[in-house]
Amino acid sequence: MTTRTAIMPDRGLGDRLSALFWRRPKLLLMLLITPPLIWLGVIYLGSLAALLVQSFFSIDEFSGVINYELTLKTYGELFRAANLDIIIRTLLMSTAVTLTSAVVAFPIAYFAARFARGRWKAVFYLGIMLPLWSSYLVKVYAWKLILAKEGILTWAATKLHATFVMDAVLALPWVGGNSLSTSFIGTWIVFVYVWMPYMILPLQASLERVPTSMLEASADLGATRGQTLRTVILPLAMPGMIAGSIFTFSLTMGDYIIPQIIGTSARFIGQAVYQLQGTAGNIPLAAAFAVVPIVIMLIYLALAKRAGAFDAL
């Protein structure tokens, strides 16, 4: 038997680096997290801070020159009736889109988490992700064709002799309109469609973590299907649903393309920001508008936490 040395020979740089990281485990960690920390700290948080600071500047109404003194004047302007309307409209739309997404996404996510196996699971992921691979603009214009007065939906309704349903929907006060593509209903449908994957995926992930035995335990102890849903499945799915709602809610609040292509001429926060920083050149007010979604999200998360939405994490 050949004797081997207790320490194996050094094979070069790789071995020496491994030895260094073995002696100083924190060194590797630091090398790994420094670049993303710089990215997050400087570029991401930095631009966020710049935005915040901008919102505390003001604009001279006559000359259009930005006054770099810290003031709350811009925020005063933000709460004028016309601007407040925009905020409330956006908030209502985001809420409607989020609630609808949750209701529509739940059965899909539940099916995927509990019943889809093997190939069906792949089909599910493909089906959910596929819309995300195509251009957002193309999808929105495609929806315009579907929802337009001369579009597929109207055609189908005519063929099915169901135009009265469509007319009834469009006759609804405030959310209705001349056609689906020029109404809030249309905006809402397209928002729900576009953000749906962001609700389904986290919801499915959280439902997947609920073991079957927990549902069986609930039934075993006497719960009906409805009681199991309310007292076990929904509370355990809540972190996923909140994660999904953060996406649907904040993406709807910041979007300016969908309401521009599909919907009424009434503006949403995203459109207001777009116009204020562009044509109007009112960067401070644009910044103040941009702060609104951030504040609303923070309030929303605080309320969710208080309601125990993260207890199952």
């Binding site: 073991p211 035995s213 927990m214 069986e216 335990a217 609930s218 039934a219 075993d220 102890l221 006497g222 719960a223 009906t224 009681q227 007292t231 076990v232 509370p235 355990l236 125990g308 207890d311 199952a312």
Partner: protein
């Protein structure tokens, strides 16, 4: 007296797999009943048939005389302690235990009082406010037990109840489950693959093999008088003797079993059958000596303090005449 649970020609097939096949079973009221078998033998499926999570593909199941074919799990007066305990992570221990009364619509104060009572029963009186995640495995199991017992089931099902616990805790829990069952007088049905657990806790046990019942009886019966090679081997790893060997040892030419602890070593000259020592394993209270007898492995349990042979030595086999058990079945 009607049985607590009775199976009449019950089958549960999954496609071609016959998980449970034509099983007839009577579980007497008030008994501590064990379903024993290797994994995949159908014991867990039987348990799930009683709780209602599986439905038989053929046959009838009765619980206290009532046919439960049309009864979903939530309407059976049967509760289960799950193998992974299945405690609800978002509820504290008290609300977990009070879950049954909660879905039954019992007011909060009442159900919490009842839950505290059950927690006292399993000696977790002061743990009501904790979350399941903050408990040890043994404590979680007690919570699962309290949660299953709060509905006052007529039959309590336990799926591998001690599987996840370490040895010491397992032994303590065995005693506790046994005394709890005596005190409450409920029929306990438990599934296990551990023959020691089944033998020490059950008053009646059934051994499953390939979806069928291999043998049923009291632990003493099954241990001392296995009816087949499978049972002899599975319950307490007995020496299974071929017909030739049985005859050489003075029995009829049939398959027989000889328990290692009933097998003694004798001087080679005095014994009718002898073999070569292939292994000596120290087990604490005894040592297990394995002999090779013409290609057959025979194990003998030698109590501590007696002389042990060395590996490679010759040794004879001796036993009390009634220790040799001849089996009826060939398999």
């Amino acid at each position: 007296m009607t049985s607590a649970v009775s199976f009449a020609k019950v089958s549960r097939h999954f496609g071609k797999v016959k998980a449970v096949d034509q099983v007839d079973l009577e579980i007497a009221e008030g008994s501590f009943f064990a379903m024993l078998g290797p994994s995949g033998s159908g014991k867990t499926t039987c348990l799930r048939l009683i709780s209602g999570f599986e439905q038989p593909t053929a046959g009838h199941i009765r619980i206290f005389g009532e046919d439960v074919s049309q009864t979903p799990p939530n309407r059976r007066s049967v509760n289960t302690v799950f193998q992974d305990y299945a405690l609800f992570p978002h509820l504290n221990v008290r609300d977990n235990v009070a879950y049954g009364p909660m879905v039954a619509g019992v007011p909060k104060a009442q159900r919490h009082a009842k839950a505290e009572e059950m927690l006292d029963l399993v000696k977790l009186g002061s743990y009501g406010d904790r979350k399941p995640g903050q408990l040890s495995g043994g404590q979680r199991q007690r919570v699962a037990l309290a949660r299953a017992l709060i509905n006052e089931p007529r039959v309590l099902l336990l799926d591998e109840p001690l599987g996840a616990l370490d040895l010491k805790l397992r032994e303590a829990m065995q005693d506790e489950l046994k005394s709890l069952q005596k005190r409450l007088g409920i029929t306990f049905v438990f599934v296990t693959h551990d023959q020691h657990e089944a033998l020490s806790m059950a008053d009646q046990l059934v051994i499953f093999s390939d979806g069928k019942i291999a043998q049923q009886g009291s632990p003493e019966d099954v241990y001392a008088r296995p009816n087949s090679r499978f049972v002899a081997d599975f319950v307490g790893s007995s020496n299974v003797l071929s017909p030739d060997l049985t005859r050489a040892l003075g029995g009829p030419a049939k398959w027989a079993s000889l328990r290692p602890e009933k097998t003694m070593l004798a001087a080679p000259a005095k014994a009718a059958v002898k073999g070569t020592v292939t292994a000596v394993r120290y087990l604490g209270a005894a040592s297990r000596v394995v002999l090779d007898v013409g290609g057959n492995e025979i194990a003998a349990l030698v109590p501590a303090g007696q002389d042990l042979p060395v590996q490679g030595a010759e040794a004879g086999i001796a036993f009390e005449p009634d220790a040799l058990h001849v089996m009826e079945r060939e398999v």
